[in-house]
């Protein structure tokens, strides 16, 4: 300091002083002692093979944060604003885990991740190392909940529940129409998702009196479905069950139409395109009548309809990625609100006692058992008159099922 006194300000002091002043000017909020923002890590596959879904997830999460902040933030924390820490898993589990670790280090009070089951398994375990609350937005594999991690909560239904509901629903729809359908052909992609679905349906459906005529596996990508359609045509089933991803689903549905195959129903479990707005918009004729068992919002809920309108105003489709991630973020925010703290144990306790119902989903208030929201369920949708309608369960239905089709 002696030098500074002699020669005025030395360079180091000057820099430090300027930095302090600039900092204060740039962050006037700090001077007014606003509450520290609550940080939430949003880890999604926004690039790579899953980038469309990842981007939809991120959009949903950010909409939730914007809505909460606009409504006054977390009131129990003095109106603290929520701040997103955005992570890109590049559609890879290991990157998902490292992005989660980064978000936790950056002070995330909770994590919302990771869209795909494989990525979510990695993000959930990474968050468990620091006991950081982790909400699963989409990942359906039951392995995520089977890990038994205390910090992991899934708002949406798991695969076992969805598949079970799908079988019951198909049986009930068939019986209600006088059981016109007796035979089934399953067309599935040959990785874990399609094969698992096919295996489950091939064991469960015969218990309800359906005869499985043929199970046809195909790789992803499959360039041409004519051959498969020909085999389906030769088998002439009452019901066709496709279990594949979007591109193959669309090609298959188009080929069925080209080959003039007219089954009594096309029915899916988590169908790649069966309840996709894009498919219905681009190929209304091929999509007409297709039934699916999938995540869906409650069409009778004004809250869900308002969010749908807000999403569409941004030029986005209101897909399951959007509303499930929106709700995952809002659920976490609600827990932080009730905990009145970002303390991890308190937030986890608040999630365990959560009875949150502002989700616009056909679920009822949240109730978590071992991290799974027990009220969560998939619904049955059907494309009717170019629109995706909920046809089952009755209390959420926006239209009556059309079965048999032909």
């Amino acid at each position: 300091m002696t030098r500074a006194l002699k020669g005025g300000l030395d360079r180091r002091t000057f820099l430090a002083g300027t930095a302090a002043i600039t900092g204060a000017l740039a962050a006037p909020g700090l001077l007014r002692a606003a509450p520290a923002p609550v940080k939430i890590g949003l880890i999604h596959p926004v690039t790579g093979a899953l980038s469309y879904s990842g981007a939809q997830c991120r959009a949903g999460g950010q909409m939730a944060i914007d809505d909460i902040n606009a409504a006054g933030g977390i009131t129990s924390l003095g109106g603290a604003q929520i701040e997103a820490i955005l992570g890109d898993s590049l559609s890879k589990p290991d990157v998902g885990a490292s992005e989660t670790a980064k978000a936790v280090e950056a002070g995330a009070a909770g994590i919302v991740a990771g869209y795909a089951s494989a990525i979510t398994l990695a993000t959930a375990q990474e968050a468990a190392k620091t006991n950081t609350p982790h909400i699963v937005d989409v990942g359906v594999t039951d392995g995520i909940i089977a890990l038994g991690l205390k910090n992991v909560f899934r708002f949406s239904p798991g695969y076992g529940k969805i598949a079970q509901d799908a079988v019951t629903a198909l049986d009930e729809i068939n019986k209600a129409a006088g059981a016109p359908a007796k035979t089934v052909v399953i067309v599935h992609e040959d990785s874990a998702f399609g094969t698992g679905t096919a295996k489950l349906l091939a064991t469960e459906l015969p218990k309800h009196g359906f005869e499985i005529l043929k199970v046809i596996a195909h790789p992803t990508p499959t360039r041409d479905f004519t051959n498969i359609a020909l085999q389906v045509k030769a088998a002439n089933p009452d019901i066709i069950i496709p279990a594949n991803y979007y591109n193959e689903y669309v090609l298959f549905a188009r080929t069925i139409q080209q080959q003039q195959i007219k089954p009594k129903a096309i029915y899916s479990v988590l169908g790649g395109a069966a309840s996709s707005y894009k498919f219905v918009k681009e190929f209304p004729e091929a999509a007409e009548g297709v039934m699916d068992t999938n995540h869906w919002f409650n069409p009778l809920s004004p809250l869900a309809q308002a969010r749908k309108a807000a999403t569409e105003a941004k030029g986005l489709f209101y897909t399951y990625e959007v509303y499930l991630t929106y709700n995952a973020v809002a659920l976490l925010a609600d827990a932080i609100e009730r905990a009145g703290s970002t303390d991890k144990d308190k937030v986890i306790a608040a999630l365990n006692s959560s009875t949150w119902d502002k989700h616009g989903m056909p679920y009822g208030p949240t109730q978590f058992v071992n991290g799974q929201n027990t009220g969560a369920q998939a619904v049955n949708t059907q494309v009717l008159g170019g629109k995706i309608e909920v046809i089952r369960p009755a209390e959420f239905a926006s239209a009556k099922v059309k079965f048999p089709l032909a």
Partner: protein, 290 residues
């Protein structure tokens, strides 16, 4: 398990699908078969063509078949520029460098597409997209029938071009004896770039004929690239009619293999043929011993 009632439609479908494969392989047989450039970017360039057709349809309302007037010439220019501006410069005349340069190009092109267009699947819905023609009891989708005709015409046109025109002769001369061709006054760099441009231009034709019955994503080329290389080897390097026949054989083998062994395992037939050809007739069906 083979069902005889669907054998005929399956074979016919194999023929039309195979013709589409052949169309994609035609450009490659010129680039790879004649010039020995292992073009790993072939799939990525097909994707570029498909996106061009898609955007012309979406923003200008141009039918994919009308795009035949626009996309192939544009792809030719792109191919010419790529060879002259990037591949030949970076390769320094060595084949193993070309392999790496085209592989690098494919990665760059695919990721650019991912960044600009996202990995969302895009399709075009045309009036004839679902129309079919009845060929003795088998329904052949109109877009596939058109693609079949397009493949036959393109293969014959390319064959005539190589056999009858000065440029075709120059390409063959460069392929056989690069130094000699230069000595008799052929602009070797220009011939290389022209061949590459024509190969990519033909890919543009394939894109126009493929999109009405298919879709486009940044990764769409992956499904076709291995098949295309197989067809080039099967037909005989540089033989256009060979590529056409090879493509149709592959299509039919795929169709019957799918019926007998299931779609997943049915692909095995394609690569079994590939290995057999390499073992017993490495010059290909219509190829000449070098």
């Amino acid at each position: 398990m083979l069902n005889l009632t669907i054998l005929w439609p399956a074979i016919l479908n194999g023929v039309t699908t195979g013709a589409l494969y052949a169309l994609i392989a035609l450009g490659l047989t010129l680039i790879y078969g004649v010039l020995h450039i292992i073009n790993f970017a072939h799939g990525a360039l097909l994707m570029v063509g498909l996106y061009a057709v898609y955007f012309l349809f979406r923003f200008l309302g141009l039918d994919p078949y009308v795009s035949l007037l626009v996309v192939p010439p544009a792809m030719f220019v792109l191919g010419y520029a790529l060879q002259r501006g990037i591949i030949s410069r970076a390769a320094h005349g060595r084949d193993e460098n070309i392999l790496l340069v085209t592989l690098g190009l494919s990665i760059v092109i695919e990721n650019l597409a991912l960044m600009l267009f996202s990995s969302d699947t895009q399709t075009v819905d045309t009036a004839y997209g679902f129309a079919t023609v009845d060929v003795l009891g088998a329904f052949i989708p109109v877009p596939k029938a058109v693609a079949f005709a397009g493949a036959v015409v393109s293969a014959l046109a390319l064959w005539l071009f190589m056999a009858r025109t000065d440029l075709g002769r120059a390409i063959r001369a460069v392929a056989k004896e690069r130094k000699g061709a230069r000595l008799v006054g052929i602009d070797v760099e220009h011939v290389y770039a022209m061949s590459f441009g024509i190969g990519v231009g033909v890919l543009g034709i394939a894109a126009c004929l493929l999109l009405p019955s298919y879709y486009v994503t940044p990764q769409v080329g992956h499904g076709f690239i291995l098949i295309a290389f197989t067809i080039v080897v099967l037909g005989g390097m540089g033989s256009f009619v060979g590529a056409l026949i090879g493509g149709i054989i592959i299509g039919v083998v795929e169709a019957i293999g799918g019926l007998m062994l299931g779609e997943s395992l049915g692909q095995i037939g394609i690569f079994a043929i590939f290995i057999l050809i390499l073992l017993f007739r490495p010059q290909g069906l219509l190829g000449q011993r070098g």
